[in-house]
Symmetry: C2
């Protein structure tokens, strides 16, 4: 694989200067066009230590317009990063649409190093690379351009480079980290080769660059970047194929929602007793999770007026406010619009020992965006997989994920809408949009059905909450969350105490 | 001070429900109007432990529209927070214009606790409170509304509250932290009283609330918030007075820039030798700063075509890319526009052991915004003080701050503009705006003069770099930075080696 990058090609100073003049003009032009087209470009700079990744990055800094180009270095993770799912640090660093992100270190670095040092075996390494591939594919079909360059140096060339740096009086170029890796050259190269092989896809191919001659290296990468941007601007991002349309099933339309027993109720007395009990358990479990450094993500979706707000408030009454945050999803800011739709949710992923409650969530993609046509069929149908991958990454980190759908009947919704319109402090909750959504009831029910089918797993289940009786729904939400937490933490749950006996 | 909050006032359940109906309707209306007016509201919730800060926050969550309201809890700081100047965590949590930020814990918490426990003395405590006052004033004159409530409980009421919570079967309401503080009630109250006294200003007054009866407490805070929003919407934010206009000085106009010796030059040989030397020193010092966990902020301002980019590149050639980031200031995003102008710079403040290089900076406020009239006279003239306070907070944390002005003559600028227009990859750097700015040369020179007068301190000096000779300027920038760093770190600097002697 690396043989083609050990051919000793080089460029003379004069040839470099001539080529550079054209290249930098073209690169600037391409950068301007990428900005105008809203194309996010992710340049992944990887390679052998000593191959000059840092020098290359500086060269690019000279060629490109620094406004609209950001260098991101992944090196020593902060605790905010370590205390969140592994991918959080990378989402955080993605360039917005129209900008170029140069990644010095990336999602490849840690797996390759860990594998080279034999701290993760082939199976885990391959699993990591499959995740990487999925991540790059997801962003690519969303419109991002990945340019991945691997700077190669043969083993002896690497040694010579360091000797030359020392001799030339630039020993400071050999960073403290580099030398250590050098000793493991062969292991590192094997792991790298494996990484490249597993992730060299048509959508996000690798470019292996002979880095022995720095002028050849820089020109090659510059031209690679230029060609990739030009090609993408000339031809739109590869579309992901939409799945075949759903077939019409025989018989009456039935969804998972039609199986929810909406008649379940709770008396006022039982409600008070049970709610207090479960809130108390929740408070205890919240602190237990904090001690155990486990995080929790709770998602709330449901019909308009389904009782999401009330249910969330019953949770926040139990949880210590120091341990949680509630994220109400409203219109995205422009920094959010300039990213993949999952970005704005990744932003708020809790760190260890904390809880994030999402009042509406990434499921908007397969609910409102699907029904209202804000997302194309290809977009919302691939979202199931993207969402499962996202939640899988949370769970791989140890985060507990639970999802509630607050279900009510159309009749109950009508009654609540009417009541809202009559109540001064509830009026703002009811808009024309709610009435319009109501007309789409069957389409939403179908979307919920498909969502449950694709994304309800035993590890991250959808809990369909019968919401016609608010008391029943609220207790169910708090209790279910307690059960999930207790299970994840290996904690015991106390049963609801018996009601006090009436005197005879 | 707290006597007025121990009068045992209470509200019956019935009276509460009646009052609540009106209040929540009015609050929602006020919130909508605040959003429309772009008014950021900061509600600081402080008070005695056990007074029900958490319950109050939940009550507000019930009354207000959760979209546009965010609860921020300051409790255990992450290392990303600890490794940055103290104020960074608060800037990060400020609500954007039009939204309500409820702060549970704030810039008051830590100083009060530290002072109550006698870990900081009166003098340091007062200094902290003066900073707080300045911070609140700065944001207020920028348009923010601060509503600061102090929930009070007498000593015996505090004890009773806990006993009642335990008896009612809600012992989980007494958080692990609360009990510890209770033992230090008197010391805590003394420190709190001092904090309130020092920061109870006309712009951001305190409201001491009797918290013994939770209904009284919640209604009082709700009404206080409502009244504050209404009053602000009725009357604009208090303007900060503009200083008297500058007087015309006798004689020829002279600025600090006219004293810069632009004739200084460096030969190509000397340049190469010196640059390599200082870059090497810089690399070593960068790692030394990392080991010492000291951070560095370097600011670059200067005339268009003054050579900022080239000088910055000479720094980045020396510094390890793992340790630094370059922030190029372009048009702000809407998340940035929705905040005080310093917010977008606070965002990028380096953590310990790192370097942030700002290519243009917060000084835009007193340069381009002043000259072009984007900021009012009152705005840019108070910015000197705001900037000094900002940099003071960086330095108090141990951050090294250095500021470079790249100075050239108008003739040199013209030559460079002309050259840029002729060079394909430099063309994009020259716009009509540059030509327009050029016509404002004397106004900019005056602005630079005033900026230096107000913000160049021995701790955070302005370095006026003679830039007509690029070689001289670049070496001076790298060398000066090395000298500052070496001084701050107590490191030795190696002298530039003698040039090799020619053979006779």
């Amino acid at each position: 694989m690396f043989e083609t990058a050990e051919l000793g090609r080089s460029v003379s100073k004069k040839a470099f200067e001539e080529a550079e003049a054209t290249l930098r003009t073209d690169l600037l032009q391409a950068q301007r066009e990428a900005r105008a087209a809203g194309l996010p470009v992710v340049l992944v700079v990887s390679g052998v230590e000593g191959a000059g990744k840092g020098d290359l990055v500086r060269q690019l800094g000279k060629w490109l317009d620094s406004r609209g180009m950001q260098v991101q270095v992944f090196w020593d993770a902060t605790d905010e990063e370590q205390q969140r799912p592994w991918w959080w640090r990378f989402w955080r660093a993605l360039p917005p649409r129209g900008e170029i992100g140069v990644l010095f270190g990336s999602w490849y670095t840690e797996p390759i190093v860990e594998h080279a040092y034999n701290r993760i075996d082939v199976r885990r390494f391959e699993a990591a690379m499959h995740q990487v591939k999925a991540f790059e594919r997801m962003l690519t079909v969303d419109g991002a351009l990945f340019v991945k360059v691997w700077l190669h140096l043969g083993k002896s060339a690497q040694r010579e480079r360091w000797q030359a740096d020392e001799a030339s009086g630039r020993p400071w170029k050999v960073s403290p980290i580099a030398e250590e890796y050098g000793e493991h050259y062969d292991a590192f190269l094997r792991a790298s080769e494996r990484a490249i092989r597993l992730t060299d896809t048509g959508l996000a191919p690798w470019h292996i660059v002979d880095a022995e001659n720095s002028r050849f290296r820089d020109l090659t990468v510059g031209r690679t970047l230029l060609a990739a941007i030009r090609a993408r601007l000339a031809e739109p991002a590869p579309a992901s194929p939409a799945p075949p349309p759903s077939v019409e099933l025989p018989g009456e339309p039935v969804t998972v929602l039609s199986r929810v027993d909406l008649d379940q109720q709770l008396s006022k007395t039982a409600y008070r007793r049970q709610l207090a009990h479960w809130q108390q358990q929740l408070n205890r479990l919240g602190w237990a999770a904090h001690r155990a450094q486990r995080s929790l993500v709770a998602v709330f979706e449901g019909w308009d007026a389904g009782g999401k707000g009330g249910a969330i408030r019953r949770l926040t009454e139990g949880l210590d406010p120091r341990l949680m945050q509630v994220i109400s999803i409203a219109a995205p800011t422009d920094e959010e619009v300039a990213q993949h739709y999952l970005w704005r949710f990744w932003r708020h992923v809790p760190r260890d020992g904390r809880v994030t409650i999402y009042d509406r969530s990434w499921y908007g993609r397969v609910l409102v965006e699907r029904v209202e046509g804000f997302a194309t069929r290809a977009e919302w149908s691939r979202a199931y997989h993207e969402i499962n991958a996202f939640e899988g990454q949370l769970m791989a980190h140890g985060t507990v994920v639970i999802k509630f759908w607050l279900h009510i009947s159309p009749e109950e919704q009508l009654a609540r809408f009417t009541e809202r319109e009559k109540t001064p402090w509830k009026k703002h909750k009811i808009t024309d949009e709610d009435w319009r959504n109501r007309e789409q009831w069957p389409a939403y029910a179908q979307a919920v059905n498909d969502m449950v089918q694709h994304t309800s797993t035993s590890e991250a289940p959808w809990v369909l909450v019968p919401g016609n009786d608010k008391r029943f729904a609220r207790v169910m939400v708090v209790r279910t969350l307690c059960e999930r937490l207790a299970e994840a933490l290996g904690e015991e749950l106390e049963p609801v105490p018996e009601p006090p006996q009436r005197r005879q």
